[in-house]
Assembly symmetry: C2
Homo-oligomer: 262 residues x 2
Amino acid sequence: MEDTSNKARARRRPRAQNAPPAGEAMFLGANKKGSASEVVRRKLREDIISLKLVPGTLINENRLTEQFGVSRTPVREAIQRLAEEKLVEVVPKSGTYVGRIPLSSLPEAIIARSALEAAMVRRAAQVATGSQITTLKALLEQQQEAQIASDRNAFHYADDLFHTHITRIAGYPGIWELILQVRVQIDRYRRLTLPQEGRMQRVVEEHAAIIAGIEQGNADLAAQNMTNHLMQLRIDLETFHDLRPEYFIHDLDLKNLDPTPN
Amino acid sequence: MEDTSNKARARRRPRAQNAPPAGEAMFLGANKKGSASEVVRRKLREDIISLKLVPGTLINENRLTEQFGVSRTPVREAIQRLAEEKLVEVVPKSGTYVGRIPLSSLPEAIIARSALEAAMVRRAAQVATGSQITTLKALLEQQQEAQIASDRNAFHYADDLFHTHITRIAGYPGIWELILQVRVQIDRYRRLTLPQEGRMQRVVEEHAAIIAGIEQGNADLAAQNMTNHLMQLRIDLETFHDLRPEYFIHDLDLKNLDPTPN
DNA sequence: TATACATAACATGTATACATCTAATATAAG
DNA sequence: CTTATATTAGATGTATACATGTTATGTATA
């Protein structure tokens, strides 16, 4: 065995240095729950968005550590990602808090959402098939039933499905993700406010108008109706000051308070 | 000293349990560079966006560790945040890579950007002051000079300033952040492509049209001109297939290739 | 030569100890 | 009693060792 030197020789395995993740480690559904970091992130995010954790609440890494039965490392990684989403605020050597809602971001979020969804419905009006329009009508009926039953949860659920389906018709899933991101703070805010009288009925009517625009293949009309619809959210925002001030970052420039009158 | 028991008594200091970060640890410029994690994050992000690190490149945590002279912890936290931005891809127990550009995201990004900037310029047309419009004209001249000098860098710099200033006029800084985010993948893509002949001249003309719309206070016209301008980016995207395929995620649904004809 | 399998290097994931800074409390001074 | 200062609990920031999985490589086999 003159080749034993082979074993002694340092076997360097230079990993592919400039290769895409091509290997594609996972093929299908391999990642059921994912890493501990992912589990923590998902749960925390859910609790923050659902307002189970109210804005401004102190997040204690050690508490989460024992709560999830993992070490601080995955907890911190989850927090880093949520901080990137502005869902938590990290104050360097002091504390980590559930992200407060920046009041200044709300009018902007409404405008951005409006612009994006208007573009989506414009596209939808151009490409929607008959069955897709019928589905929209079904969702509208579902929403109306929820309104009659005064079931707010069901109403908002149907509302979500309605908007989701329009963007699905448009065929730009990435933009839908963007819309969801923009909506996060709006949705958190809305969970804090009391429902307005008669709003559900108005929403149903506005949705009907949007469907009409799509059905006529009139992109401009559909977009205009969508914009009108989403701009109704504006009025909600004038009741800021009353509610729990500690839930918000009061960075609102008052001169900007009235977003776009038309 | 009958009160020595005081010292022995466990002094629990229950930190504010439901308080906003109110204390505001830092007041002004306290965070010059920030934590090690921040330094790594900033540098990595810059290198990725500037394409100094090409898409698909293997990122080795250990290499970064010795490169920055810090431990893996801050390196990983930086990577987590960049992963949230889709600027890096982490393959669980395999490797971390510089984020490739998802081809499917490019048409969507153009549409989203167009919708957002159209909304911005619409607002700008309503509120722009004379001096703000004059500044826009100055930026346009600056851009034209760069075009004449065939200075691409200066041209793109002036281009950026032009769009930035419009959103500044509109007064929605948060939406500008959103636009920047949407633009990231587009900008990375554009750095990979060769300039098109005559494009700079056309851009200058389109910008002039946008200014005209603003100057007339004609929101619809300004928005239309902005949309036309940004939709020109569309034609660039049909040269995907040629360039380095390893830089991209080829998830493009071909039937969607033609975004919005009008 | 081509294929299947075993092995180990090397990547990321996690746990834990320590460093550092903040801020609440105790203490002293006015 | 009010204010200023010192102290220290407790939070996040960082370093490091270990766990776990992936994947290149070596080896045996057909």
